[in-house]
Symmetry: C2
DNA sequence: TATGGTGAGTTCGGATTTCCTACTCACCGG
DNA sequence: CCGGTGAGTAGGAAATCCGAACTCACCATA
């Protein structure tokens, strides 16, 4: 038989797995648009600025992965629209958290960031909290529990 | 003078901006490792499985962007370690949220996901909440407020 | 002083992807 | 018939990525 697999991708990790699916260029922007309700091919091309062929490839992948669905919104002329599945919608918090980081750290003056409103009536700002105690998460408050190989569990603080 | 810029990157958006910085292949995995405290070049190579030259490029970019710092941990033999800056640490919630999504949707049986412990004593599971009311965010509870061009504000629900 | 080992990269050519422009195909509207 | 729209394909140049090998500085030890 062939030789033993040489373990490329050293650390088994769901972050890596997730990025293998949605980490390619444009994929998360597609999700952004689709979550905003702009799921048609030409809208996507315009709003994202991606080449059409790459967009087509990404869409195929995201549909296969169960993150988007492609549904017709008109027969005769046959036209389609991409929409998020449940799994796709559950990725939205990632987008929201990333947007928040971008707003705080990358703010280009000239254009102000998009504002979201929450049902509670206030401007929506995402906060990542601990399910158990409800506190906002801080790096120092976490300890990683190695499931596999050699990990160091405590990270250093900023420099 | 040259002609008017043709507006590639159609939608001004901090998600796109953030991804332009940390959306390249391996960048977020570098951050993962560095947040775990594994900030040395060869550790990164091993744990991430990236080609060394690409890793070197990414590291340069992340340092320039103010997400990592490169600090010597030994003079004579001169050795370096990469560590997250404040801005880098503030990206950690994105990673945690993405990991949580991966754990729920991509779970390969064989290896169980890494478990984190919160200071509160319980297993840490991230939840994205609204800063104002504290509720867990759901897609239907958000409305986007167009700051610029033509947006649709409501997204469709899963299919 | 030769021999080997580590950490942190750089250099090389070849394999993959991406990008851009143009093209298709089906339909509709006037 | 003519032009326009939506949803892609096709083709080749340009940019990236990849793996393996190479460097350079510094121990360790024999």
């Amino acid at each position: 038989m062939g030789r033993m697999a040489v373990s490329k991708d050293p650390r088994p990790c769901s972050i890596a797995d997730a990025l293998a699916l949605v980490g390619e260029k444009y994929s998360l922007l597609v999700l952004r648009e689709v979550c905003l309700g702009n799921g048609r091919f030409d809208q996507l091309v315009r709003n994202i600025g991606a080449p059409r062929d790459i967009l087509a490839t990404r869409l195929k992948r995201l549909v296969e992965a169960g993150i988007l669905t492609k549904s017709p919104y008109s027969e005769r002329p046959r036209r389609f629209e991409y929409r998020p599945t449940r799994a796709g919608l559950e990725l939205e918090p990632v987008l929201l958290t990333l947007k928040e980081w971008g707003d705080r750290h990358l703010h280009r003056d000239g254009d102000l960031p998009m504002v979201m409103e929450h049902v509670c009536g206030h401007e929506f700002v995402p906060v990542v909290t601990c399910r158990a105690c409800g506190d906002e998460v801080r790096h120092e408050d976490l300890t990683a529990h190695p499931q596999a190989s050699g990990w160091t569990t405590t990270g250093p603080t900023a420099a």
